[in-house]
């Protein structure tokens, strides 16, 4: 895992300041099938490579972030405030 995470609000910070909150998946519509919701709530891929996660800057600004990173190379591609991703649903 990358050692330095650049928070969009606080700048580069050690990963110890953050809490990983799991895969950032598009949320199903409220009336989606039970199967779609079970998939969204419980089922996770464990990819080797590109991954998109919620991270919480627990010991900093305490904002929720969406971080795109690579689980194999530890590279972080983008970090952004999760508020900007509000309302993302499956097409």
């Amino acid at each position: 895992m990358a050692s330095l995470v650049t928070c969009p609000h606080c700048g580069p910070r050690p990963k110890e300041e953050f809490t990983v909150k799991g895969a950032a998946l598009p949320r199903p519509d409220p009336d989606a099938s039970p199967e779609a919701w079970v998939d969204f709530v419980y089922l996770r891929d464990n990819p080797r490579g590109a991954y998109r996660e919620y991270w919480h800057h627990t010991s900093g600004c305490r904002r929720w972030l969406v971080i795109k990173r690579d689980t194999a190379t530890h590279e972080i591609y983008t970090t952004s405030d999760a508020a900007g991703h509000r309302g993302e649903v499956t097409p």
Binding site: C10, E17, T58, D81
Partner: protein
């Protein structure tokens, strides 16, 4: 009437100021700390006028969040007035007993703090007036550069003694 009285006890009451060569530690008197929580797009000037009326200084905490700090404890009536005044813009949470101030002062202050935090405290990136929340060791603290050589740390009360003792050790090389 209860046999038990509420007693006032400053979190760092038994920690005497530490004066070393080029850096000193001082526990600040427990005055006023108000946590202001507004919408993310709320700009500083929008609320600064109101808080400044009561002689409080505003310190940035996060997106749409500020600490309004003062050296003296405000009376309930004054707190209530601030809360009413800010209501359209921000919610106010009284943190006066929840967060404790520690002043780290001196030309070696940045050197001491750099042992515990990843923030770049250089003049150019962290000028006077700048605030940020970050880990100092394993304890989260709100750091403000109040003067060229002075940093005010606001830490949760329960962690105050621990952070103080850490700072004592971090500054040992200047004793």
């Amino acid at each position: 009437m209860s046999a038990y009285r509420v007693t006032q006890h400053a979190a760092l009451a038994d920690r005497k100021p530490v004066v070393r060569t080029g850096v000193s530690l001082e526990a600040l008197a427990e005055g006023t700390v108000l946590h202001l929580l507004a919408r993310p797009n709320t700009a500083l000037p929008e609320i600064i006028g109101d808080a400044a009326l009561s002689g409080l200084l505003l310190r940035s905490v996060s997106v749409g969040q500020w600490f309004a700090v003062g050296r003296v404890a405000l009376r309930y009536e004054d707190l209530d007035a601030i809360q009413q005044k800010l209501k359209p813009v921000a919610d106010v949470v009284d943190q006066s007993h929840g967060r404790v101030g520690i002043l780290v002062r001196g030309p070696h202050a940045t050197h001491v703090l750099a042992k515990g935090t990843a923030i770049d405290l250089a003049d150019a990136t962290f000028p006077v007036g700048q605030s940020s929340t970050a880990l100092i060791g394993h304890i989260a603290a709100h750091i403000t550069r109040t003067e060229q050589d002075a940093f005010e740390l606001l830490v949760l009360r329960g962690f105050a003694e621990s952070l103080w003792d850490d700072l004592v050790r971090m500054s040992l090389e200047f004793s």
